[in-house]
Amino acid sequence: MTDWLGMTPRPVAPRAELRAAVLARARGARRRPRWAVVRLAAAVLLIVAGGWWAGVSLRRLGGRVRALETRLAAAQDTMRLLRGPGTRVVQVPVRTAGRLGSVTLFADTAAGRWYVACENLAANRPDEAYQLWFATDGGMVTAALMPMDRSEPMWMALGIPAGVARVTGAAMSIEPRRGSPSPTGPMLFRLNL
C-alpha cells in the first residue's frame, strides 16, 4: 500500500507529559538486554544441552545394545548347546529346607560344555552356598559356586576345566560361602552320566 497513506488521519497532539515518558522509555530500551541476544543465547544453550543429552543417551543406548548383544550371543550359544546332538538332559529332584526343587543338567560331554538350570531351591544361609561338582576319574572338581540369598530360578553355562580328561557325573553340595576345594557339606545329589 502506498507509503504515505499513514498520513491520512488527522494528527493528534500527544499529551504534553507523554513526550518525556516516551523518550525515556525509548532510551531505556537501548540499555535493556536485546531479546534477540537473549533468545540466541538460550538457543545456543539449548543446542549444547541437547547435544550433551543426546551424547549421553547414545552412550547409554550403546551400552545397552552391547549388553543385549552379549545376552543374545549367550542365548544363541545356549540354544546351540540345548539342540546339540550330543547333549544329554538329566533332571534331578532336590529337596532343600523342606521344599522340593530341581536341578536340570544339559551336558554335552563331547564338546565339554554344560548348561545347568536350578528351580525352586531354598535360599542359602548367610554363611553357606550351593556348590556344583564335576565327578571325574580323578575325583570331584568344582564346577560352580552358587550362593543364593533368595529362592529364585538360576541358569548358568559351564565349561569343563582344562586338565580334566573325562567327566563321569555331577554332584551338588552345601558348602561354606567361599566354597570348598572338595565336597565337605551335605550332598544334595550325586549322579553318574
Binding site: G6, P9, V12, A13, R19, A21
Partner: protein, 199 residues
C-alpha cells in the same frame, strides 16, 4: 500545495545521521515532528486513546532500537515510521480479539473521514509538521471512487486480508484485488512527488 518552504531532504539525512549516532536530542526532534501523525494513525486504527499512547511509545522505542534498518534510498523517514505505527496498531487491534466487531462498527463510520471532504484544520493543526502532506494524501484518497477507497481503507486501516475484504464487502475476491491494484496505482501516481513530510 507548494513545497518551497519545506525543509530539504538534506535536513532529513542530517536527522537520520544524528539518530544513528545515538544523539538523544534527535529522537526528541523526530518525536516533535512525527508523534502527532503516529498518534493520529494509531487512534484511527484503534479508536482507543490509551492504546494509541502505548503504540506511540512502542513506535519510538522501535525507532531508537532499529534506526539503522531504515534505508533512505527506499523512502523518506515519515512513511517508514508510519508503517511501524500501522503494524504496531494492527497488532494491538488483533490482540484485542474483538477486532472483527470493532471493524464492523467503525468501518462505516470512518469511511467518510478517510476520503470525504477535509474539514478545516483545528487551531494549531495546520502548524503541525506534515499538515500539507496530510492534505495531499487526503485529497488523493478522496479522488478514488468509493468502492476503491473502501477496499483501501479496509486493507490499510483495518488490516484486513483480501479474502476478509471480499467477505466484508460481499464482493468476489478477484474484484477486491483488482480494485486494490487500481487504487494503489492511482495513489502511487498521485503521491509520487512526495519526498518529505516537513514544511
Amino acid at each position: 500545495m507548494t513545497y518551497s518552504n519545506r525543509l530539504s531532504q538534506e535536513a532529513e539525512r542530517s536527522l537520520l545521521e544524528r539518530l544513528r549516532s545515538r544523539e538523544e536530542a534527535a529522537l526528541g526532534e523526530l518525536y516533535d515532528q512525527l508523534a502527532p501523525w503516529v498518534l493520529g494513525l494509531a487512534r484511527r486504527i484503534l479508536d482507543d486513546p490509551a492504546e494509541a499512547d502505548e503504540v506511540l511509545s512502542d513506535v519510538f522505542e522501535q525507532i531508537w532500537e532499529h534506526i539503522d534498518r531504515h534505508d533512505a534510498r527506499r523512502g523518506a523517514l515519515a512513511p517508514w515510521v508510519l508503517s511501524i505505527a500501522r503494524t504496531r496498531a494492527l497488532d494491538a487491534l488483533r490482540r484485542r480479539r474483538r477486532w472483527w466487531r470493532k471493524a464492523e462498527r467503525w468501518g462505516e463510520a470512518h469511511l467518510a473521514e478517510d476520503g470525504g471532504p477535509l474539514s478545516p484544520p483545528d487551531p494549531g493543526e495546520a502548524g503541525v509538521p506534515g499538515w500539507p502532506v496530510h492534505q495531499e494524501v487526503h485529497a488523493a484518497l478522496a479522488t478514488l471512487p468509493e468502492e476503491q477507497r473502501r477496499v483501501v481503507v479496509l486493507a490499510y486501516f483495518e488490516g484486513l486480508t483480501h479474502s476478509e475484504i471480499a467477505r466484508r464487502t460481499d464482493q468476489p475476491l478477484g474484484t477486491v484485488k483488482t480494485r486494490l491494484r487500481i487504487a494503489q496505482a492511482k495513489l502511487a501516481e498521485g503521491l509520487k512527488h512526495l519526498k518529505d513530510w516537513r514544511r
